[in-house]
């Protein structure tokens, strides 16, 4: 069914007006730029209320079925709503593991019962989700995960440890990758996938203090934690396959996410505008020839990524290295963000040495903190080095 331009324009105007009228006032504390920066209850409560409000207004999960709390509309409406959220710079929809990864996974391969039980709470922000993939000894090498799940009657008994659990201390559910068969010949075949509750005895989520000095992740310990056997998704041994499918949503290679503004995108324009009054050699920093050259390189880098997103839709211009643009997307955009934030500190002169908490820090130390936080993206979800291996092996066909 095609939708008229007029209908889309009317919808755009309607969302735009709603965002303008409902954008929350500055709460007086720093709001997370990404879902990995929710460090305290104040931030949690604020974001939970905001997501609930966006969903209640009908601007979240618009393309998910109505039966599960969605809007039952075409995806184009959500795309428009997302753009308007970005344009109005409203807070993020923070339940990202649910909205972006677990939700679409359940929609695609979940049972009717799973859909009915989980999806609505993801959208309304009543149920916060976290992810239990990485382990202390198995970060990017997910296939070697050692956390054990042993079937005991109607339950699985979980023992082990996960790490980098975003919002692990706030979450009600976890998508959990655990080993059900340690004797499997291929390590991947011994893994199973669970939609596990977090509020059972034997699960302890200890907040981890990050390089920024703040919180956002936990170490999650499982000590004889018993979860219902019905939490198993699919069958035993399918864990790796399901985890890989989950990563497809995470990397944006597979559609289905509920939408919503998932992170505050900081652009090079923000950097230029916020730092243009810095002085260098007695003149504006933007007059410095070396800084100018570096800035132009960064502008080009950001523009190239934007153009790549356009080119990815033109099949005649992507046939040389199929998969190159989508598979390198995370690697390129996260590395670019990291370098840009690092350079933003570099631009500040002596003030670049200040940090959050110092009244003289530029933008309250925003760039310093943003630089540190940017590593969560170059490390999490498969480090840049692992991403480069994936591109090398899958796009260029280089040997393992």
């Amino acid at each position: 069914m095609s939708i008229s331009d007029q209908e889309l324009n009317e919808f755009r105007a309607q969302v735009s007006a709603w965002m303008r009228d409902n954008k929350p006032a500055d709460p007086g504390f720093l709001l997370p730029q990404t879902f990995m920066e929710v460090g305290d209850e104040r931030q949690l409560d604020f974001l939970r209320e905001w997501q609930h409000k966006v969903w209640s207004a009908g601007y979240l999960g618009m393309a998910w079925p109505k039966a599960y709390g969605g809007g039952g509309q075409q995806a184009v409406f959500q795309a428009i709503a997302d753009r308007e959220m970005r344009r109005h710079a409203v807070p993020i929809c923070f339940n990202v593991i649910g909205l972006g990864w677990a939700g679409p996974l359940i929609l695609d391969i979940g049972s009717e019962e799973e859909k009915a039980r989980y999806l609505k709470g993801i959208l309304s922000a009543e149920d916060i989700w976290c992810q239990g993939f990485s382990e202390p000894d198995h970060g990017s090498d997910l296939g070697s995960a050692q956390t054990r799940a042993v079937r005991d009657g109607d339950e699985y008994v979980i023992n082990g440890q996960k790490i980098w659990t975003t919002m692990g201390n706030f979450a009600k559910y976890m998508i959990l990758l655990a080993r059900t068969n340690p004797a499997a010949q291929r390590k991947y075949d011994g893994l199973s996938f669970f939609l596990a509750p977090m509020n059972v005895p034997g699960i302890e989520a200890r907040p981890i203090r990050k390089i920024t000095g703040e919180y956002g992740f936990t170490e999650t310990f499982f000590t004889d934690a018993r979860i219902p056997a019905g939490c198993l998704m699919g069958e035993e041994g399918q864990g790796w396959k399901i985890a890989m499918q989950t990563l497809q949503y995470e990397r944006g290679a597979e559609a289905g996410a509920a939408g919503g503004l998932m992170m505050v995108r900081v652009t090079i324009d923000d950097m230029i505008e916020q730092l243009r009054d810095v002085s260098r050699d007695g003149a504006p920093v933007l007059h410095d020839p070396v800084m100018r050259d570096t800035l132009v390189k960064m502008i080009m880098e950001e523009k190239a990524v934007a153009l790549g997103e356009r080119r990815a839709h033109i099949s005649a211009l992507t046939s040389d290295y199929p998969g190159s643009l989508p598979l390198s997307g995370k690697l390129r955009s996260t590395e670019m963000s990291r370098r840009m934030r690092q350079f933003a500190i570099n631009l500040q002169g002596a003030a670049g040495g200040l940090y959050v908490g110092d009244d003289a820090a530029r933008q309250g130390g925003f760039w310093q903190r943003a630089y540190f936080n940017s590593f969560s993206a170059t490390i999490g979800g498969g480090t840049s080095q692992v991403q480069a291996n994936i591109v090398a092996e899958h796009v260029l066909g280089l040997p393992k």
Binding site: A304, G308, S328, L398
Partner: protein
């Protein structure tokens, strides 16, 4: 307004078809053995292949139908140049096309339609622009004197030895003008060939002193200024397109070697020290391709606007640095073989150095981009 600005990128069916045809043509007619066979010839290309390209309509592909062209604009030259670069095919197509674009944009459409038609029909033309090595030079010492007599030498004139027509940038009473000189008007010995770092390319110094041109052979006025400005950008774009193709095939050559060469009992492509830079090259090729087709989307037949200028400059700054990187790593990753003349890596590293120095290097363009995007200094 974002500094990222316009991100339009379109690709027409005509362009897609051309890319297909051009790529197949170049692959068939220009295998590496054929490229190597031309390295030490006088003119650096195979007449027969050139005539086939003319028959395919490529010499006039970007020219209006009113002068014998296909009316597809510069956008159609980009896929052809990319395909030629991929196969390292030497032909005067870029030289001729740029000369035609200059005439077209500098007031030649109409009075010089017959000349444009001749170029569309395969007559080889070239632009004689530079007095020296400086792409940023703002005036020329080559002058138009009394009685229409030219005085001065032009350097780095591409494909000069085969050109039948030269579009020469001169100064006429302090203002730029273009003089159209036929090869037969040149004095004997006026053309002195360069020895180029890239043996697939040809250029020469050309002495125009004493050549007399009639009023019909001259273009003057504001259109010349704007035409020459756009020529610099279109030259940058076409070299960027060609370099993008060369970088892609350079990457393919390197990857092929990494997949077959064994050391210490392992395929060397399994070492991350080689694998990761290969991915960096791939990403750089991806950026180059995005920029050249973005610029192709914005470069119309009229005077190039700000967005088109930004796009052409970015394409050039990106693509030739990409090829420099790809060529440099190709030599290194081929190990001892890479140090030999026999290894194809040398063709790419030579092309890289040559391309970087055409129409301004990356720094030249970034400096101008900085002025456009970050404002002037002072």
């Amino acid at each position: 307004m974002s500094v990222i600005g316009n991100t339009a990128l379109g690709f027409s069916e005509e362009q897609a078809m051309l890319l297909d045809v051009a790529r197949e043509f170049c692959r068939d007619r220009s295998p590496m053995a054929a490229v190597r066979a031309q390295l030490e010839t006088e003119h650096g290309f195979d007449r027969e292949i050139w005539e086939e390209m003319v028959a395919l309509g490529w010499a006039g592909i970007a020219l209006p139908e009113s002068c014998g062209g296909s009316g597809l604009g510069v956008a159609a030259l980009v896929p052809v140049a990319e395909a030629m670069g991929r196969a390292m095919l030497g032909t005067p197509l870029i030289s001729s096309s740029l000369a035609a674009q200059l005439l077209l944009r500098a007031g030649g459409a109409g009075p010089m339609d017959d000349i444009l038609a001749a170029i569309a029909g395969g007559a080889i033309a070239t632009v004689a622009l530079l007095d020296g090595a400086d792409w940023g030079a703002t005036h020329t010492g080559c002058t138009l004197g009394p009685g229409g007599e030219l005085q001065g030498v032009k350097h780095y004139v591409p494909d000069a030895a085969v050109a039948g027509l030269f579009v020469v940038l001169v100064e006429d009473g302090g203002a730029p003008a273009l003089a159209l000189v036929r090869a037969e008007q040149l004095a004997p010995g006026a053309i002195a060939a360069n020895t180029l770092i890239d043996q697939t390319k040809r250029s020469a110094s050309v002495d125009f002193s004493g050549v007399r041109v009639s009023e019909e052979q001259l273009l003057r006025g504001a259109a010349v200024v704007s035409g020459v400005h756009d020529l610099h950008l279109l030259g940058a774009l076409l070299i960027a397109a060609e370099a993008t193709g060369s970088a892609a095939s350079c990457l393919d050559t390197t990857v092929e070697y990494l997949k077959t060469r064994k050391q210490f009992g392992r395929l060397i492509g399994s070492y991350q020290a080689l694998k990761h830079p290969a991915v960096d090259i791939l990403c750089a090729v991806d950026s180059s391709r995005s920029f050249i087709y973005h610029a192709a989307t914005l470069a119309g037949d009229g005077p190039l606007d700000r967005d088109a200028e930004i796009a052409c400059r970015m394409a050039k700054a990106q693509a030739t640095e990409t090829l420099l990187f790809a060529g440099d790593r190709a030599v290194q990753f081929h190990g001892g073989m890479g140090f030999t003349y026999e290894c194809d890596a040398q063709l790419y590293i030579r092309r890289a150095q040559w391309s970087q120095q055409q129409w301004g290097d990356a720094q030249h363009h970034r400096k101008r981009l900085a002025a456009m995007l970050l404002g002037p200094v002072g």
